[in-house]
Symmetry: C2
Subunit: 184 residues, 2 copies
């Protein structure tokens, strides 16, 4: 039985297997992620994250339940993080995973990744009190700490790769077209 190369917790043989599968059949790369959400009360709502489409078939799983809520200062009961906090969580996770996967693909051992992310938001936008103020984050700062068994320059290169390849970094820093369909 052939041994498998695992680096940074990533099965590198399978990673190159995915790349080869996409080279053979480009549609393997087409993913459609999907969630369902239901309003509960006030700023509290609940999401079900279930199956998704990818690698030419429906990918099944047990699925997850996530809540959104608002802190008392934002008129909620703080049952969970709020939507803009989930964006920071998604951004941190995506930069980290992008760095770790691309390091594994290049044969670089990573020993630590941690980050603190802060986002500045001016409520004048959400409340419609000033048309010059946007509703979302004015800016986001990521403070990233990365260690590995590689030279400093390689770590810096990996941060650049992570930034260029991270799906959530792209989603937040560039426009994504959103279509809203309203059902009766």
């Amino acid at each position: 039985m052939a041994t498998q190369t695992i680096l940074n917790g990533v099965n590198v043989d399978n990673l190159f297997g995915v790349i080869d599968a996409i080279k053979g059949t480009p549609a393997v790369a087409d993913f459609k992620f999907r969630i369902e959400n239901k309003w509960m009360n006030g700023g509290h709502n609940r999401t079900t994250v279930g199956n998704f489409f990818g690698a030419c078939e429906i990918q099944t799983r047990e699925g997850f339940v996530l809540d959104n809520a608002e802190h008392q200062i934002l008129l909620g009961e703080d049952e969970s993080p709020n939507p803009v906090e989930y964006v920071l969580h998604a951004l941190a996770g995506c930069i980290t995973t992008s760095l770790v996967y691309h390091a594994a693909a290049r044969g670089h051992k990573i020993t630590e990744v941690s980050s603190v992310i802060e986002g500045d938001l001016d409520l004048h936008g959400f409340l419609g009190m000033d048309e010059k103020v946007r509703s979302g984050y004015k800016n986001i700062t990521v403070t990233l700490k990365v260690k590995g068994d590689v030279p400093k320059e390689t770590l810096e290169e990996l941060v650049e790769v992570a930034q260029a390849r991270s799906p959530v970094y792209d989603i937040v820093s560039n426009p994504v077209p959103i279509t809203i369909l309203v059902e009766a």
Copy 2:
């Protein structure tokens, strides 16, 4: 004791109280949200969502722990949703809360909000296999169902307001500047 007006689970008196406080002291509107994230292994990492700054002081809370992980088809163990799924969760929650809060401010009773959100992502981008393909979502479709004790036109207007005022809708559909600082 004066009675409080609660509509859609939102304390409308407190909502107008926030608006008045911001009119008096614009800095009340400045919020800074913050998370910390730590890599665990492979595509698995963990976020702590703790205190944040807003309304001119640090807002304390017990806080939350959230994981990011990847499904087996994306070389993980599926311990939690993945970062791009969290983006859809945040978007659903934010559109919903924006609609519900603005409806409350206008005196409209909402009875149901639910949504299905789908996002199309082509792995050629993340994997760096095609420079013409972006890393993030190519497009996102929100199918929104809203009911309330108001005419259809009012519901349509509220969806437009939610779209215009939702912080996460703005973050995803427009560019947010992100600064990455790398610590040794």
